[in-house]
């Protein structure tokens, strides 16, 4: 991996974001069949396939510094992308501990954690951070614990409080959402924040998923993939900035499809936080342009069939209705049966 030397690329303005051949190869292509329908496609989040995004609990890749720079930009403009309700303090420290322990164990060349009782020493060589602090004492950190650690880990994080047989979105750091807002969803229950999703409620998907997550045990995290499409490699496609990116969907042509339309895949990991009994929901986003995607044989063909046959309500929800025809037409050249 080439993290330290990789230049900081941008997810806005000139959109200099690119994937290396390695990143293209390890991109989590989410379709295992030629069609797509909702399922609670959850599996144990155990380490597998060295070098893949599934090797470590929290994947750090060549975009690390770019993504952390992007998060800082978003937070500068809109601090409400970060939230910790008062009753989520223990969960915030839980999350810091889980992330630091994983990063230090999985990437010792970049992250070092030394502990003597409550006195912790954290070093992040990629961002030149060297911080001594007292675990549990927010005043010993330059900012709140969840903000401190999530400014150093790729992906969005929601911390869900478990009470009344439900999960509530009561804390998080969400700067790269696929068109949802932490400030809007704050305090909502599991089904409330999923209410915009079409079809799945009637299928009972959320009943099963909630039941499963309520019984999630510490030390036994689970994961799933989710996907959508995004115009340009724009990590921050949030409702708060819709005026900056919404119109892009109407500017897709046969000429710019390959470069501008991106498949956006989320690796979602759900883990029980042991001290707080909260659930950490991490959403690690991978972006890949159509031009990059079709360099791997078979992917263009499969994506063509999936998008061609996708039920209308799902296509609408994923925001692709305005350019779906153009995209499907462009992808058809990779499908020998089209």
């Amino acid at each position: 991996m080439t993290v330290p030397s990789s230049p900081v690329l941008s997810y806005r303005n000139d959109f200099s974001f690119r994937n290396s051949p390695t990143a293209i190869r390890r991109f989590p292509f989410p379709f295992t069949e030629d069609s797509y329908l909702y399922s609670v496609n959850i599996e144990p989040a155990t380490s597998r396939d060295p070098g893949s995004i599934y090797q470590h609990g929290f994947d750090i890749d060549e975009h690390y510094r770019s993504e952390m720079a992007e998060r800082a930009l978003v937070l500068d403009k809109d601090p409400r992308r970060y939230l910790v309700m008062p009753h989520m303090q223990v969960a915030a420290w839980d999350a810091l501990q889980m992330l630091m322990e994983h990063l230090a164990a999985d990437y010792p060349q970049w992250f070092v954690l030394e502990r003597q009782g409550d006195r912790w020493h954290w070093r992040n060589h990629l961002l030149n951070i060297d911080q001594r602090f007292v675990f549990g004492d927010a005043a010993s950190l330059p900012c709140e614990p969840l903000e401190f650690i999530t400014r150093q880990v790729q992906g969005d994080f929601a911390l869900l409080d478990q009470r009344d047989g439900d999960l509530y979105m009561d804390a998080g750091m969400v700067t790269s959402p696929a068109d949802w807002s932490l400030a809007f969803d704050a305090g909502m229950s599991f089904k409330q924040w999923h209410s915009p999703v079409p079809m799945a409620h009637q299928m009972g998907v959320f009943d099963r998923a909630l039941k499963y997550l309520l019984a999630l045990q510490a030390g036994q995290p689970v994961r799933r993939l989710n996907w959508t499409l995004t115009i340009n490699p724009r990590l921050d496609s949030s409702p708060e900035t819709f005026h900056e990116w919404g119109a892009d969907r109407g500017r897709i042509t046969a000429e710019n499809v390959g470069q501008q339309v991106h498949l956006r895949v989320e690796l979602q990991v759900m883990a029980r936080l042991p001290r707080s009994n909260a659930v950490m929901f991490s959403i690690r986003t991978y972006l890949i342009s159509m031009d990059e995607l079709v360099t791997v044989p078979g992917r263009g063909c499969r994506l063509h069939r999936v998008l061609r046959d996708l039920p209308e309500p799902i296509a609408d929800y994923k925001g692709m209705s305005r350019y779906r025809q153009t995209l499907v037409q462009w992808l058809s050249r990779f499908d020998p049966q089209a």
């Binding site: 009753h87 409080d161 009470r163 510490a218 030390g219 036994q220 042991p274 001290r275 707080s276 009994n277």
Partner: protein, 306 residues
């Protein structure tokens, strides 16, 4: 199911003539963190496992503590932990799981403990003190027998502790409490039933009443077991639970409480008379499913969809 932890008994103490407290330390590596109200399953001889609440402060990452009441009419798990386990011995335990968590946004926590049901509240109290939360403990016990933590709690809680040597008037405890109050109870089933009934009578919303029963598998008659998918035939001994018999045969059945409460081990039964002993399934669900951690056959043979 999940990987077991190996721990060493680093201290043991009789708190009363029938309650023994064991302090556990890890044999290797750190102990997993836990939230107040969590329990562990202690693995016992003969493939049995008993669930015990962790009584230690959740912020203590070096030790777990459990308190075991000697149960005369039991299958021998508590007897083993009282009479056979000594300081220095190692035990296998399951990682902590929580089915009795504190409610994070409650404005007042009313804790009602009966006898050995004090154990989960010991961790709750440590956590509530740390949060500087508003709480009170009502502790019902038999003096000299099940009063395991009365003395330290008296010093620690002062007027927040209310002690009783016979069943208190629950309506006094539960009437006219502020909005946002939650009540938690742990102890013998009659106490739990009484708290639930009183809370309901006084109009408490169901979600503000939390309870944890202290019951595990109890013996019954032996019976045969037929597993329809694998074709296996097993014998469930009188002192063995159905779940333990399945585990002895190498089956992995998800489970957390081993007390008929959490619903994890639910299994479809097809033939045979069942004595349902769980508190999870509705009567109509029991016609199709059983909880093998506590329920058993009461005829010669039971067939399961396994």
């Amino acid at each position: 199911m999940s990987r077991a932890l190996k721990v060493r008994v680093s201290a043991a103490k009789m708190l009363t003539p029938v309650v023994r407290e064991l302090t556990l330390e890890p044999c290797t590596g750190p102990l997993p963190g836990f939230s107040a109200g969590s329990h562990v399953q202690v693995h016992l001889p003969g493939n049995a496992r008993n669930a015990y609440s962790l009584t230690s402060d959740p912020s203590d990452s070096l030790h777990y503590r459990i308190a075991v009441r000697l149960q005369e009419a039991s299958r021998g798990g508590s007897h083993y932990l009282h009479r056979h386990v000594e300081v220095g011995d190692t035990l296998q335990i399951s990682p902590p799981a929580n089915l009795f968590a504190l409610h994070s946004t409650a404005s007042l926590h009313i804790l009602i403990a009966g006898g050995i049901g004090i154990t989960p509240f010991m961790a709750h109290i440590a956590e509530l003190e740390r949060r500087q939360a508003n709480f009170e403990l009502h502790y019902l016990y038999r003096p000299g027998l099940s009063d395991a933590y009365v003395q330290p709690l008296q010093q620690r809680l002062g007027s927040r502790l209310h002690t009783y040597s016979c069943r208190p008037d629950l309506s006094k405890i539960l009437r006219d409490r502020p909005l946002g109050s939650h009540v938690y109870t742990c102890g013998p089933q009659p106490l739990i039933d009484a708290v639930q009934q009183q809370a309901k009578a006084l109009g408490w919303p169901r979600v503000r009443v939390h309870w944890e029963a202290f019951k595990g598998a109890t013996p019954g008659q032996a019976f045969d077991l037929q597993l329809l998918r694998s074709g296996q035939r097993l014998r469930v001994g009188a002192d063995q639970s159905l779940l333990e018999a399945l585990e002895s045969a190498g089956l992995q059945i998800p489970n957390l409480c081993r007390g008929g409460v959490c619903g994890q081990c639910v299994t479809r039964h097809v033939r045979g008379e069942i004595e349902h002993r769980d508190s999870f399934l509705s009567p109509s669900e029991q016609a199709e499913f059983l909880m093998p951690c506590v329920s058993r056959g009461c005829g010669p043979c039971v067939s399961l969809d396994l």
